[in-house]
């Protein structure tokens, strides 16, 4: 996984609540095993009925075309667990999402892919959103995970909280499987113990065969 230390980019406001993964990365009619996730991001909202670009959609506006920080409301990423809803962010170099809250699975998927999910307390969230709206893509913000600060136009630095474990994982870009395989021994002894105590859990056989 690509480590995350700091990210300087234009911040784009999408201040609705409950933006779901069907909106972020819709299931498209034609698809392939080697999907290009870049055009998938908010695919429906980006286009008008005739297939042409919708100039009113925020990510289509010239100042936000290369946005790398997404600022949003409550419960971001609700719905389906599809990871394409995060891969379509990284494909567009959006590596920070600042929300009032995240859906559980979406947040996990962010951490798996080097995307920093920041939750600001309501007051700070609204103040930051106002700054993002005011600057309107004219200047970038910097999100630094080491110092846990957001800095940029329109005011003082904003501190954010993140669980120490999540922070470490992002900073070091840790290989999740590698991290778990350090417990190979514990997993094997769990299996051994349960095979004796509750054998039905350690086997799954079709009794008709």
């Amino acid at each position: 996984m690509q480590p995350f230390t700091s990210h300087t980019a234009i911040a784009v406001p999408m201040l609705k609540d409950d933006i779901n993964t069907d909106q972020i990365a819709p299931i498209l009619h034609s698809r392939s095993l080697k999907e290009d996730y870049k055009p998938m991001l908010f695919h429906r909202a980006r286009r008008r009925e005739d297939g042409s670009e919708n100039p009113d959609f925020v990510l289509n506006k010239p100042q936000f075309r290369n946005a790398g920080i997404l600022v949003t409301g409550n419960n971001f990423g609700a719905g389906s667990s599809r990871e394409s809803a995060v891969w379509s962010m990284t494909a567009n170099n959006i590596r920070v999402i600042v929300a009032k809250s995240f859906a559980d699975i979406y947040r996990e998927n962010c951490l798996q892919n080097g995307v920093l999910p920041i939750v600001l307390v309501p007051g700070a969230a609204d103040a930051f959103a106002a700054r993002v709206v005011a600057v309107d893509g004219a200047a970038p913000f910097t999100v630094d995970l080491k110092t846990q600060r957001i800095s940029g136009p329109g005011g003082a630095d904003i501190a954010f909280d993140i669980a120490a474990a999540d922070r470490m994982r992002l900073l070091e870009g840790l290989d999740d499987i590698g991290l778990t395989l350090k417990y190979r021994q514990e997993i094997a002894s769990w299996e051994q113990r349960v095979a004796a105590e509750q054998p039905w859990l350690q086997m799954a056989q079709d009794n008709r065969r």
Binding site: H29, S30, L33, R44, E83, A103
Partner: protein, 469 residues
């Protein structure tokens, strides 16, 4: 110390605590589907890592399979690469695959419990948000992303933060024509789409005790629509009877041993929950969504709400829902003309769901101009329904009767509505464009969906059955 059932299952499966503070939880059963499987197989092969427990891993073709009779890999062209890639990967890795032509193929959340793969007190994972459907038989299940799925393939464990505990106490007797779907929709309406976020929810109470296992699964299926991390119901004698004799369930002496253990699976009387909610289900009427998220719900005799009574924080969402759904505040739901009805999905596609719908449809005809579909949740459900003659009832009434799969739930297999169509659907998400671009979805129970197909309008099944409509 008194403990909740959640804590008992979690602690039993705890392998250790990882250096980053996450709990490593052993996963007893892992079920893949074709939209994600190939990513995992490819990734592991690149890293030269084996699948740790192919014998505890299963694969089911469901999201992209066509429903047309006589279907094959290529009937839905956008699915064929995925179907083939999962087939090849499953064979290479020695994983039991419920393939497109398997007599037990179907939606993973329907198939796994039906063949007895899911057991009370076991942990279960699926790269799909509705994994907790199987909580209905007392398993602790987690939906996961693709990377987490790959992690489980390699390690047979999930690295999780321990969720908080919620108990949803559901008491009272459900009225006629009211089912678990209605209970769940009301609960989501009360708690909101994020009300369960961060919680493992135990559903309990007299309404649950009286619910058949299939309805318990409907209820746990919808847990994710209020954002719950997992949802489950303590197993009881009805659960054990349901499970007994299923192909992958333990048998003989092993069954007896398992049963003795399963009977201990309950929250202790004094156990504390981080949050408790309650709902009296006796007064509940059939419920239906009017908007574009599963919490925008009213009773079938209700009206599209007035923005003035909507919580200010939810008002703008409601207003965009009015526009998308083509509805005015104050409009009664019952009587709205519809174009389409879909009965199916991991929420409501098991045999009893189809029986309820067939009882409504029996001897009647789908209204002119309405396209109505029934898609059984598994090939086993389909067979059982056909043996009971339900397919005839549906077909005679003018329903399409399909091969099993996810179908119109998310439109992943090409089954979808046309722009602007109003659809009553037994699925779980009424998000914009989910069932096709600009399709207007109203979520409801199989009974309400069936009654609406007959009426050609959103209908109150109680009135239809009383001969009043």
């Amino acid at each position: 110390m008194p403990r909740t059932l959640f804590d008992k299952i979690w602690d039993f499966h705890l392998v250790g605590q990882r250096a980053d503070g996450r709990d490593l939880l052993y996963i007893d059963r892992h079920v893949l589907h074709e939209l994600h499987a190939h990513h995992g197989f490819t990734q592991l092969e690149k890293e030269q890592r084996p699948v740790r427990r192919p014998d505890l891993t299963f694969a089911v073709q469901d999201h992209t399979v066509a429903t047309r009779p006589g279907r094959d890999d290529n009937t839905n062209p956008s699915g064929s690469a995925f179907i083939k890639a999962m087939r090849e990967g499953s064979h290479r890795n020695g994983i039991r695959l419920f393939d497109i032509d398997d007599p037990e193929q179907g939606i993973s959340h329907v198939v796994a419990p039906e063949v007895g793969l899911v057991l009370p007190g076991a942990t279960h994972a699926v790269p799909d948000s509705h994994a907790s459907t199987v909580g209905g038989i007392g398993a602790l299940a987690f939906g996961c992303g693709t990377t987490e799925m790959t992690h489980i393939l390699a390690t047979q464990a999930m690295a999780l933060k321990r969720p908080k505990r919620m108990r949803a106490q559901l008491d009272g007797r459900l009225a006629a024509h009211v089912s678990a779907k209605d209970v769940a929709l009301r609960l989501i309406a009360e708690l909101g789409v994020a009300g369960g976020r961060g919680y493992a929810v135990e559903y309990a109470g007299s309404a649950i005790a009286a619910m058949p296992i299939e309805q318990r699964m409907t209820l746990c299926n919808l847990n994710i629509e209020m954002g719950g991390r997992s949802g489950f119901i303590a197993p009881d004698e009805a659960t054990f009877a349901w499970l007994h004799g299923r192909p992958y369930a333990p048998k003989g002496a092993l069954w007896d041993r398992a049963l003795a253990y399963w009977r201990t699976l309950a929250s202790d009387d004094e156990a504390e929950f981080d949050r408790e909610v309650a709902l009296d289900c006796s007064a509940l009427e059939p419920q239906i969504t009017w908007g574009t998220d599963p919490s925008q719900v009213v009773g079938i005799s209700g009206r599209v709400p007035d923005p003035a009574v909507i919580d200010p924080g939810r008002r703008s969402a409601a207003e965009s829902a009015f526009a998308y759904m083509g509805l005015q505040p104050g409009t009664p739901l019952a009587g709205l003309p519809i174009n389409r009805v879909f009965i199916g999905s991991c929420t409501n596609s098991r045999v009893p769901d189809l029986e309820v719908a067939a009882a409504v449809v029996h001897g009647r005809r789908v209204a002119e101009g309405v396209t109505a579909m029934v898609v059984p949740g598994s090939s086993s459900v389909k067979r059982a329904a056909e043996e009971a003659g339900l397919d005839r009832v549906f077909r005679d009434a003018g329903f399409f009767w399909g091969e099993s799969g996810c179908s119109m739930c998310a439109g992943g297999n090409g089954d979808r509505g046309a722009p602007g169509e109003r659809c009553v659907s037994t699925t779980n998400r009424n998000f914009e464009n989910r069932q096709g671009p600009k399709v207007r979805t109203h979520l409801a129970s199989p009974a309400t969906a069936a009654a609406s197909a007959i009426a050609g309008r959103i209908a109150d099944v109680r009135r239809l059955m009383a001969g009043e409509a």
